[in-house]
């Protein structure tokens, strides 16, 4: 049970997640995103093995963002109709504004929760293989992405080495604030120059192993079965229940 979300077909999961987000965009009441957020967290609690400590850490910036949406909507939001709840200085907070503020900030949380569900339960390699097998993604593109993904740790090491080497050179003759910004360019350009050379070598290595981008067989078959559709049903249920908030509030 606790592996269900991890084993779900990644392409289908991606579709489900995207559909949920698009649907949520139509709702401006605070209850729909709130219920959806709670529903998704519950689903993830039940059907996945999530490192919740890490989850909270990643969620934190989005909570900040949600708070930003909350108060800017209160300050800059359209006044709208309805009774004025409070007046703070020049700003009148109407009932509609109040509701919109809650809705927009809770929407940020709802979006974040489903995104994190996807990120925390999806293996990137399986996702790309699934996109190739079910989504008809071009193998040339798919393997280019995989090979780039393999470069991440290499690039990270290179980045650290560059930083160290630059530390040795110091801030230069006349450090100005503007020069500090260009310091980023000084890290980025050598990093990219190295990446360009690696890209070419990698492409040659792939071609030398008879990769043509044409049709291929698959060692690891990513299946699409009943379980996947059942999970899709569950996402739909959470979405439908949240959306029904329109009728009973």
């Amino acid at each position: 049970m606790r592996r269900l979300l991890h084993e779900m077909n990644p392409s289908l999961k991606f579709l489900a997640v995207t559909a949920c987000m698009l649907a949520l965009a139509f709702f401006f009441n605070p209850w729909t995103p709130l219920m959806f957020f709670l529903g998704i967290v519950l689903v993830q609690l039940l059907f996945s093995q999530t490192n919740w400590k890490l989850w909270s850490l990643v969620m934190l910036p989005f909570v900040f963002g949600a708070f930003g949406y909350f108060w800017t909507t209160l300050v800059f939001g359209e006044s709208g109709d309805g009774p004025v709840l409070w007046t703070i200085g020049m700003i009148e907070i109407t009932a509609q504004k109040w509701e919109h503020a809650w809705s927009l900030s809770l929407r940020v949380l709802a979006f974040s929760s489903i995104s994190l569900l996807f990120a925390f339960t999806t293996d990137p390699v399986r996702f790309i293989q699934s996109l190739m097998q079910q989504g008809k993604l071009s193998p040339k593109l798919a393997f280019s992405v995989l090979i780039s993904y393999q470069f991440l740790p290499v690039l990270k090491t290179e980045f650290e080495q560059l930083q160290q080497a630059h530390r040795l050179r110091g801030p230069g003759a006349k450090p100005t604030p503007f020069k500090r910004i260009t310091a980023l360019r000084r890290l980025l350009i050598p990093l990219l120059a190295g990446a360009v050379r690696k890209a070419e070598r990698a492409a040659f290595a792939m071609e030398a192993r008879a990769f043509t981008g044409a049709a291929r067989s698959h060692y690891r078959e990513i299946k699409l079965g009943h379980k996947d559709y059942a999970l899709l049903g569950m996402f739909s249920l959470v979405l439908a229940l949240s959306c029904s908030a329109v009728f009973w509030t």
Binding site: L168, F204, A205, R216
Partner: protein
Amino acid sequence: MPVLKPIFQLDDFSFRFPESAQPTLHTITLAIYPQERLVITGPSGCGKSTLLYVLNRLYPHNCDGEVSGNVRIFGRISQEYEPGEANRHVATVFQDPDSQFCMPTVEEELAFTLENLQVPREEMPKRIDRILRMTGLDDIRHGVIQNFSGGMKQRIATACALIMEPDCLLLDEPLAHLDPLTAKEFVAWLGQLQQQSGLAIVAVEHKLELWGEFFDREVSLSENGAIQKDQAYTRRNAPFLPKRETAKQPKVLFEARDVSITRASKALLRGASLQLYEGEVMVIAGPNGSGKSTLLKALCGIMKRDSGMISGEFAGFVPQSPEQLFLSKTVEEELSYSGNSSPHDVKDLLEALALNPIAQDHPFSVSHGQKRRVAIGAMLADRRQVLLLDEPTAGQDLKALMELHHQITSRAQDGCALIVVTHDMNFALSIADTICLMKDGRLSAPLEPQELFSSPALLAEHRLYWPEKEESYATSFT
């Protein structure tokens, strides 16, 4: 003797890159037969890698090169193959172990090759099992490629090439990123595989001393990309490098005492101490991961030490890729970057390091040897009289080694002190005043070079390979 059909047949073949005026390969006529072990040699820039890329059909397609003459692969004109088609029979292992894999694990990487060949899924496990057994890589089937050493990565790359069951294996300087002992082990391993499978091997290589008796034919190209010699291969010894006259003065320039570094509860450096005299050249050697680079970084201050003290002149660091130091758009600006040297001193440095012809070039676009000179110049202009060179010998051919030798000699004569980290014991012997060994973060007391080279136990303990020694044994018995 049966008449064998050649795998490759080049007739009067010439090749020119669109951006260069001169052809890189010049009227090459060459036939390579099954089961041959052939090495292509020549000075750097002579087009030997280009020739290899013509054989596996990566060129001319990938660089829009201009060709004349014919290349036949298995009797068929090269251009008639689809991209990737000829590569089913001609496999390649490249030099950079870090940029030839696209999947996370060994098993998936092997499967990638089989998928390219459209091998049915049911057949794959069988072929993967077989190749893993043949290459002795059974144990690392599910290992993550990124976590392995360079030597292991080259074996994995070879296994991924062999799983295609090719007729010919091309090797593009496969030892360039390996230390000599690992390289020797790789060569022995490859020799066994070749005997089992009977495939032809064509390698581009300049470090022939590491290959022993491996090859049976040598094609050497001249500077202008024409075949100079095509003859039976003879075993090489390590190149002769002149012994440097010592320039060591009695004045202590730099001192480190009990320097320790611990990161993530792992001791990287355990109480390293050393003293450098003016004009001294010290070599530091030891296995990969023993803390050599960490030591250099601690000595020049870019890695913070947890304890210990450092005194004397400032130390400058030249990384294995010298361009990591570069911050400016021209070589001259690079030297004057810190503002610690007057324009006059910068001029003198450009002169002394023979950088004047490239003073206005972009420091990233010059040759590797020039990059290292720019880096040394930048360090000297920053008023760092102690130079720490990290693996400057890795992947360098004889000409580059000679240049490095000259560079170190001149800097020592000027009164700098140098530390050179290297695996190349032949090179170490020719330049070192003293040698320190490193293992598990511990630095030994300085040794006289002769002390080290007369102790096979010490060499073995630090995974060092000294070619002269084995060769002199070999010759004394034959």
